[in-house]
């Protein structure tokens, strides 16, 4: 079986990750200008929570190795397919869409900003219906204000949002500048991480599990 790491624009000069999950060799299969990185296993699964955590970290490092060289579209851990022919069929079908995404996202990275959870104490401490509604309104207003301030850190850039997390698509190399702008907001509760592969900005997300049942 195959564990899939990520896809990237094919580059004959690019280095393969030195090792994959559980020390397995990382291979690449190419379809036109698209390369897909994977490792082969006779068996995969089980293990203790610690071992599984280590597997997930190995998975991250393998992707990170490619991501340091160029844009990638990562697979979610653990993305597994039974055999190489299934992977090749998948790539044959979706390579144009993934390549379009990779070309659009070339030289861009994703930065994440986590907002603090809404403050519930002030709402919970209210003693009347009116006070409760006002506290809820004030809390919501604060969140909107904070969101707008966060987005002002990268004006004109593409942003995506999911469950209190904001994702900015910024040029590779401007990560430090982005962090400085977020820090300049003076909101200690904001948590910035990145650079990440721009997963939130990928448009092509086919349901592979459905394909395999056909």
């Amino acid at each position: 079986m195959l564990l899939l790491y990520c896809m990237a624009e094919a580059d004959a000069q690019a280095e393969l990750p030195p090792r994959g999950v559980r020390g397995a060799a990382v291979e690449a299969v190419t379809r036109g200008d698209l390369a897909c990185y994977f490792s082969r296993y006779d068996q995969f699964g089980g293990g203790s929570a610690e071992e599984l955590k280590r597997d997930a970290l190995d998975f991250h490092w393998a992707i990170h190795h490619v991501f340091q060289q160029r844009a990638v579209i990562p697979f979610r851990f653990p993305a597994m397919l039974a055999e190489i022919s299934t992977l090749e069929a998948f790539l044959d079908r979706h390579a144009p869409a993934y390549l379009a995404d990779l070309q659009r996202l070339r030289d861009l990275v994703q930065m994440e900003v986590r907002l603090p959870p809404p403050v519930a104490e002030a709402v919970a401490a209210t003693t009347s219906g009116t006070a409760y509604m006002k506290a809820k309104f004030d809390a919501a207003q604060k969140v909107v204000e904070l969101e707008n301030r966060v987005k002002s850190a990268a004006p004109g850039r593409e942003w995506r949002q999911r469950a209190g997390r904001f994702f900015a698509l910024i040029p590779r190399g401007e990560e430090a500048q982005f962090r400085e702008k977020i820090a300049a907001l003076g909101e200690a509760s904001l948590r910035v991480s990145g650079p990440w592969p721009p997963s939130e900005f990928v448009n092509c997300y086919p349901d592979v599990s459905l394909e395999q049942k056909q």
Partner: protein, 76 residues
């Protein structure tokens, strides 16, 4: 300063990214591929759920557990 759960990604990276953030990212981002391969027991995807139980919210983990493995609601 790096916490015990932080990892320096390399000389080119400005910041530490925490272990939890890395794991959250690999488990919750990216192209989903779930084939017909059995890496599960009693309907539970061991790899995914095993990590989810350790690293993500109870709510997320519960979504991936079959009903017979979900804890009963506390008695009132």
């Amino acid at each position: 300063m790096a916490t015990p759960h932080s990892i320096r990604l390399g000389a080119d990276d400005e910041q530490d990214i925490s272990l939890v953030e890395i794991l959250d990212n690999v488990l919750n981002s990216g192209v989903v591929v779930q084939g017909s391969i059995v890496i599960s027991l009693a309907g539970v995807d061991l790899v995914y759920v095993g990590l989810s139980l350790v690293l993500t919210s109870v709510e997320t983990a519960m979504k991936h557990l079959p009903p017979e493995l979900k804890p009963l609601a506390p008695r009132t």
